[in-house]
Symmetry: C2
Subunit: 259 residues, 2 copies
């Protein structure tokens, strides 16, 4: 059943792997140095390094330059269901504002585990098609990077038609209102209450940029999520794209069997 290349580097990697999964090496624990592995197994340093590299691309360990190799800590997994968009979570009746302590002049702000950056950009083909405008037309882009416990977990970039959000606090963001899911609140105030969501999901390996942005360990895939939000009348009011570190999420959907 097993079609394993029985090579020294694979054997060393397998030994280390079973040490990890069996718990002999606990998360955060340090692996033997590559030089030590080489000596213990009687192989060259290069071969031992290759074994460690295998575990790295498998996402089992992380290496810290000049420090050592460590068993990767498994991150808490968050389950994402439709309830994360529930009205009760973003619909506010009394607007509570609070001032920004640090008084940033830039549009980028740190607030509650996310950065936010709003700008006016020309729509690309996909965005234009979804929002029902022409490619190149200006749209408001609201780019966010969400973090949890100081670790970046995902990005989410929303696009709005200019006419839909012009003059709102989303365009000139102040803390307290344009936070998480604040977009839906603003669209509701604009007479465009969101009603229906379509989410498309695809998994792939990250680009080099995404590895840096999300601080992804080697061997961690990402899930690319495209979200289209419509009103009850079917008008598209938001198009959003997000990149999620795969290991930190589970998506969950419940629906009736169609006819």
């Amino acid at each position: 059943m097993e079609e394993n290349a029985d090579t020294p580097s694979r054997r060393i990697a397998d030994d280390l792997r079973s040490d990890i999964v069996s718990g002999h090496l606990s998360p955060g624990g340090k692996l033997p140095a590559v030089r030590d592995l080489a000596a213990r197994y009687g192989v060259s340093r290069n071969t031992a390094a290759k074994a460690v590299a295998l575990l790295k691309t498998d996402g089992l360990i992380t290496t810290r330059y000049g420090s050592g190799s460590y068993v990767r800590e498994s991150h808490p997994i968050r389950r994402l269901g439709p309830e994360r968009y529930a009205r009760s979570k973003w619909q506010v009746t009394t607007v509570t504002t609070y001032t920004d302590d640090r008084g940033d002049s830039a549009a980028t702000q740190q607030q509650g585990g996310q950065t936010q950056d709003v700008s006016l950009v020309p729509a690309d083909d996909r965005t234009a098609a979804v929002l029902g405008i022409e490619p190149g037309d200006l749209v408001y882009e609201r780019a966010r990077v969400m973090t949890r416990d100081g670790v970046p977990t995902h990005t989410m970039t929303s696009y709005y038609r200019q006419v839909d959000v012009e003059g709102t606090s989303l365009v000139d963001p102040r803390p307290g209102i344009a936070g998480r899911s604040g977009g839906y609140q603003i669209l509701t105030e604009q007479g465009l209450p969101p009603h229906e969501i379509t989410e498309d999901l695809a998994a792939r390996m990250p680009t080099a940029d995404e590895v840096i942005l999300l601080d992804l360990p080697a061997g961690e895939p990402v899930v690319e999520l495209h979200r289209v939000t419509r009103t009850a009348e079917g008008q598209v009011i938001e198009y959003a794209r997000g990149i999620h570190a795969a290991s930190r999420f589970i998506w969950s959907y419940t629906y009736d069997i169609p006819d």
Copy 2:
């Protein structure tokens, strides 16, 4: 912005990568031999091989032992929405049967791009919890491997309570009835019409077994899908687990924003 290690192997890999994305090397096309790359760049064979290995783990190329390295063909992507479970697709009124030409005696059969294997197995903890039975209780396991154009795309293994399907054609499978989505038809005949589905999705790197089973190229993630099917009364009638080659699918879900 770019935090790229400027090493020879990276540089070679980058050159090849831009040849691929620019189209100078078309899908299915052959890359220069490692020895040639080494000579052209004036590096050791080892270094050139490392560059090729980088592209391989990125999923951009495939290597064929003893033959060469080739630009990976992009597979057609299938969009998966709830409509794939539509009643009209599996509910049959007139049962059409046809005979198995090859007359296999085994329970494993080839039919229309999928293998099927039915057996009675003890339920693991997760399956038991979902189906509402005790761990170790016997359940019917229906394991399938789906292929498309001769390429395996995903596995899907369903679990049924013994009492729910005993004596049906699912247990003693004959071709023509227990094909794709045949399980729902049988459950309906048993007085347990499926009504609601919950799907959980998670992306991760494949195990060694999955790489072999799905013939996955290096650097291709998988999506693990867990499906729970219930009747209108909320009774769980099927629990299924599937492994999908990520690059061949997009999942799509549409739902109303909850309150």
